[in-house]
């Protein structure tokens, strides 16, 4: 049982997209749904709002059930108390910002409705702009009206469908801050659909990675980047260092596992479920790789040292990304990044010999490749 008013979703859908998911979002929690387009992210929101009917399953919020295929229960969208911010905002173009918000306030005396609508507009920093039509507002202001309208519904769950995709970067960051600020007053579950993993990392408590209608993994961003369950999740969170190796030795008492990787051997903390000789796929995020200083050895160099030749150097402003050719059986290079001044001081350039250390506690085995 979830806490008081969390949303529980366990549904299977065959049309318009195949979807088979089960998850819960707790009160005051923000969960981001991320994944490639067509994976069913927006459809999940539509199902919760009642615009798409699952083939089977259950959707409930607290003690209230919105959909239950076994009991043949389907609550109409207008009775669900869902606050939804559409990707297009879907503001009513012929109504002012104030009227847009007012439309969502029901079951209240007329005088209260007016006061409340003004309050919601003030909450999203639109005080004094209520008389404007959507066409007279900037993209950021329209998004705020959409948020105010969603909140004015006094929803039991807030659904945000790519709410930041239609504004420029500066506005996006400002709107994201406002959302974080708004959240502190909201004690409802919030579900955010985004294709931007960084946005999800900044805003969400947990991230659900969706792929072809299934949730591959649902965890905090930290957990996702440290311990992705498979290659798809690893790629989605931006991990490029994915390699095949063999387990050399394991020692659960010493909390040690050793991987044989080309001519190197890598030590990492013990991970359950693997046996010596087993072929595995492992990954390490680029911040798990430390570049050795040239001509000035340091203590960290003893940790999983790997040597190779710099293949590519890309300067992205303050950061320089390196591709290093190492002894990998599949000939995949190692990717890492260093501050640009470090790259320059150490004269790291294409063709240079370079040593790096792979941090033991950042290595993660994603699974066995043995048939």
């Amino acid at each position: 049982m979830t806490d008081r008013k969390g949303v529980e979703v366990a549904i299977r859908l065959d049309d318009p997209v195949v979807l088979n998911v089960e998850f819960e979002v707790r009160t005051s929690e923000l969960v981001a749904l991320v994944g490639p387009s067509g994976g069913g992210k927006s459809t999940i929101l539509r199902v919760i709002a009642g615009f798409a009917k699952p083939t089977e399953g259950k959707i409930s919020i607290g003690a209230q059930s919105w959909f239950d295929s076994q009991q043949n229960l389907f609550v109409q969208p207008r009775h669900r108390r869902v606050g939804m911010v559409f990707q297009s905002y879907a503001l009513f173009p012929h109504l002012s910002a104030f009227e847009n918000v007012l439309e969502a306030i029901t079951d209240r005396p007329a005088a209260d409705r007016i006061e409340l609508a003004n309050e919601y507009l003030a909450r999203v920093n639109l005080k004094g702009l209520g008389e404007r039509l959507p066409e007279q507002m900037s993209g950021g202001q329209r998004q705020r009206v959409a948020v105010a309208r969603a909140l004015a519904r006094e929803p039991h769950v807030l659904l945000l469908d790519e709410p930041f995709s239609a504004v420029d970067k500066v506005t996006r960051i400002r709107l994201q801050r406002e959302l974080v600020d708004l959240r502190s007053d909201l004690s409802i579950p919030i579900i955010l659909v985004t294709h931007d993993i960084e946005e999800a990392a900044r805003l969400a408590d947990r991230i659900a990675v969706l792929h072809e209608g299934r949730i591959l993994q649902m965890a905090s961003h930290e957990k996702l980047s440290k311990a992705p369950v498979n290659i798809d999740v690893a790629r989605l969170v931006g991990i490029r260092n994915i390699f095949n190796s063999q387990v050399a030795t394991i020692d659960s008492e010493q909390d040690r596992l050793e991987l044989r990787w080309g001519s190197s051997s890598l030590e990492m903390p013990f991970q359950d479920g693997y046996t010596p000789g087993q072929a595995v796929t492992w990954c390490v995020p680029s911040d798990g790789i430390v570049v050795h200083r040239r001509n000035r050895p340091s203590r960290g160099e003893h940790e999983n040292p790997v040597f190779g030749i710099v293949n590519e150097v890309f300067h992205f402003g303050q950061t320089t990304e390196l591709t290093i050719e190492v002894d990998d059986p599949d000939a995949h290079p190692l990717h890492c990044s260093v501050p640009t001044h470090v790259a320059e001081r150490n004269e790291i350039d294409v063709g240079a010999d370079l040593g790096v250390s792979i941090k033991a506690d950042m290595i993660h085995i994603m699974g066995s490749t043995d048939a």
């Binding site: 109409q76 969208p77 939804m84 879907a90 503001l91 009513f92 173009p93 439309e103 029901t106």
Partner: protein, 223 residues
Amino acid sequence: MDWSAFNLSLQLALYTVLLLLPLAVLTARWLVTLPPRRKAIIEALLTIPLILPPTVMGFFLLVSMNDAHAIGRIWRSLFDESLVFSFEGLLVASIIVNIPFAVQPALRAFEGIGNDMREAAATCGMSQWRSFRRIEFPLAWPGILTGAVLSFAHTLGEFGVVLMVGGNIPGETRTISIAIYDQVQSFDNASAALMSGVLLAISVLAISITFLLTRKTLIRIRA
């Protein structure tokens, strides 16, 4: 100038629009909710009056409104008079012939509103009726108005169907188009020119008013 025919045409056009428009709006609104295939089939059926030659359409209507057939028989039992060669018969024919002119623009207007607008209305807790009244109708009205003006102008000018169903009874079924035809037949070109000029002026006026009224709304919706 045959004022009686002119008057009759105006009445016919006005009643046609008044009776057809609510039906057209409801039909268009219903069509947007249908799955694409079913919608296409019904839309095609409703477009038939536009494709058929007016005389053929008129012939079908004449036959089906005859006392020997259902529509005519029902009419006879209700009002104890014939539906063909009467103003009421003209009106029924005119409504049927104008269906595509009224439905198509309204349908395009409802389609233009987009599903997310209807869904936003639902998440605001609006009933279907409230969503229609508060959101969809105000947004679709340029299309609805266009349908009204097209139906009005088309009824004023309709010739083939009117002649087939109504004949040419002065004061009862002789419309302005038929009067123009009669005047040309009797070499009264001056009267024919005057009446044609009046029809032209009404058409231009109607279309201009529609454009002026709808332009502002369309600009706003597109924004």
